[in-house]
Amino acid sequence: MRVRVERAKCVGHGRCYVLAPDVFEDDERGHCVVTREELPPELEEQARRGQQNCPEHAISISSD
C-alpha cells in the first residue's frame, strides 16, 4: 500500500497528522507531509483514518 498527498489541495486542516501520526506529519505551515509512503500492514488502518478525515480529499491510498 502506498500513501500520497496532493500538496496543492492541502490547506492545513491537520486532521491527518493528528489522527494518523505514524503516517503523516506537519510541515512548518501545518500542511501535510507523508512520512511513510510505503505502508506496513499494521499502519493501514491508521492511514485510512487520516485519509478519510481530510476535508479536502487530498490524500490517496493505492495498492501499488
Partner: protein, 398 residues
C-alpha cells in the same frame, strides 16, 4: 412569534429559536429549498454540504472580498480573511507558521492553568453563569498571551469585540439600524490600540507575535503598518468570540445530555473526538458570507453576480446526504469532515488554537466539575449570528 422559516421557505437567520436550536430548520431548508432566501436580506442561503463545500473551494466565484458589505468598523479589508488568492496565499504563508498545531500545543499548559484559576474562583459556589465566568475570559486571556499583550487589557478588548460583533449587547433599546456608529468607533479604537502597541515594539522588540509581525517580510518586503493593523483587526474579531461561543454550545449540550457527558468522564480520551463532533453538531459559526462574482447554478438554482450569498455551514455539517447518522451525536464518529472551520483556501487560520483551547477547557472542567446541570427553571439564552450562549446558568453539588 413568527416562524424560523416562512411559508415561502425563506429563513430568518436571526431568529432566537434558530440560535438556540438550529438543526430542525437546517433539515427543513435542505429538503424544501437547498438554495433558499434570507427573510431579512433576501440573500441566497446555501444549505447542502456539497454546495457549501464547493463554494468554499471556489473563491474565484464565491469571493471573500466584501469588507464594505460587512460593516464591521474596518477601514480596509481584514487580512487574510477578506482577501482572495493569490494575494491571500502570500499572507497565509506568512501567518500559518504562527498558528500551526505545534505552536498552539505549546500554549496548552498556560491555557490549562488559566482554566483552573477561573474554576478556583467559583467552584465552591456550586453555580456559575458559564459565559461570563469561563467562556468569555478563557479564550480572551489566551489571545492576549499569544499576541504578547498585557492581561490588564482584557476588559478593553472584551468591550471592543462586543461593540463590533454584538453592538446590540448592552444596548437593547437602540434600533439595529443605528448601531453602525458604535461599530465604527470601536474600529477606530482598535486601530489606535494596535498602532501604539506596534510603536512600542518597534522601539523595544520583544519575544511576541506583534514584534514578529512588525518585522515580517513577504518576498523580501516588510509588511506595511496598515497590513499589520488589518491582520490584528482580524485576530481580535476571530480569536475572541468564536471559542467563547463554542464553549457555551458544548457545555449546554453536555449539561443537557448527562449520558453523553458520562462517557467523557469514563474515558477522557474521547474528548478530542467529542470536540470535533460538537463542532459539527453545534456549529457555532452558523454561516459565512461570500460575494458571488459571476452567475452560477447550485442545486438547480441560479445565483446572480453581485449577490451576497450565505453559506450555511451548520446545515452542511448536519446534512444526511453527506454524514452517516447525521442527526446522531457520536463522539467516536469514524469519519468527520465537517466544515466548522470552513474549507478551501480560507480554512480558519485559528483552527489549531481553537481545537487546543476547546480540548484543554473540556479536560480541565470535567476533572474539577464532572457533574453539573442547567439551573432548574432556567433556560439558556443564545445570541443570533454566531451562537454564543449569552446566559448559561450551571449548578453542581458542593
Amino acid at each position: 412569534m413568527a416562524p424560523v422559516i416562512d411559508d415561502a421557505g425563506r429563513i430568518n437567520l436571526f431568529h432566537e429559536e434558530f440560535a438556540r436550536c438550529p438543526q430542525p430548520a437546517y433539515a427543513q431548508l435542505r429538503s424544501r429549498c437547498p438554495v433558499g432566501r434570507s427573510i431579512l436580506t433576501d440573500a441566497p442561503v446555501i444549505s447542502r454540504y456539497e454546495d457549501v463545500m464547493w463554494a468554499l473551494r471556489h473563491p474565484e466565484i464565491f469571493s471573500s472580498e466584501m469588507e464594505l458589505h460587512m460593516q464591521l468598523g474596518t477601514e480596509r479589508p481584514m487580512i487574510p480573511q477578506q482577501i482572495d488568492p493569490p494575494a491571500q496565499t502570500r499572507y497565509r504563508r506568512l501567518l500559518d507558521p504562527h498558528f500551526s498545531r505545534r505552536k498552539m500545543e505549546e500554549l496548552a499548559p498556560g491555557v490549562a492553568r488559566q482554566a483552573r484559576a477561573l474554576i478556583d474562583g467559583f467552584v465552591r459556589d456550586g453555580e456559575c453563569e458559564f459565559d461570563a465566568a469561563f467562556a468569555i475570559p478563557l479564550p480572551c486571556t489566551a489571545f492576549l498571551d499569544l499576541l504578547g499583550l498585557p492581561a490588564s487589557d482584557l476588559g478593553f478588548f472584551l468591550e471592543l469585540k462586543d461593540d463590533i460583533i454584538r453592538p446590540h449587547k448592552g444596548r437593547p433599546d437602540v434600533p439595529h439600524t443605528e448601531l453602525q456608529p458604535v461599530r465604527n468607533a470601536a474600529g477606530a479604537r482598535n486601530y489606535e490600540y494596535f498602532r501604539r502597541a506596534l510603536d512600542e515594539r518597534e522601539a523595544r522588540p520583544r519575544e511576541d507575535m506583534l514584534t514578529a509581525l512588525s518585522r515580517a517580510e513577504i518576498d523580501g518586503e516588510r509588511l506595511s503598518r496598515n497590513e499589520i493593523l488589518d491582520i490584528c483587526f482580524l485576530l481580535l474579531l476571530a480569536g475572541l468570540d468564536t471559542v467563547t461561543s463554542t464553549l457555551g454550545c458544548n457545555m449546554t449540550y453536555l449539561a443537557s445530555n448527562p449520558e453523553q457527558r458520562q462517557r467523557l468522564l469514563n474515558d477522557p480520551k474521547l474528548i478530542p473526538g467529542a470536540v470535533e463532533e460538537l463542532l459539527r453538531w453545534e456549529t457555532p459559526v452558523v454561516a459565512v458570507p461570500r460575494l458571488v462574482k459571476r452567475n452560477v447554478t447550485l442545486s438547480g438554482v441560479e445565483l446572480k453576480e453581485g449577490e451576497l450569498a450565505t453559506l450555511l455551514i451548520g446545515s452542511a455539517n448536519t446534512d444526511d446526504e453527506h454524514f452517516e447518522d447525521a442527526q446522531i451525536v457520536d463522539f467516536e464518529r469514524e469519519r468527520n469532515i465537517h466544515a466548522a472551520f470552513g474549507a478551501g483556501p480560507h480554512r480558519c487560520l485559528g483552527s489549531h488554537l481553537a481545537r487546543m483551547e476547546l480540548r484543554v477547557a473540556m479536560e480541565v472542567w470535567h476533572e474539577r466539575i464532572p457533574h453539573y446541570r442547567i439551573k432548574p427553571g432556567e433556560i439558556p439564552r443564545f445570541s443570533p449570528g454566531i451562537r454564543e450562549a449569552l446566559y448559561l446558568p450551571l449548578v453542581w453539588d458542593v
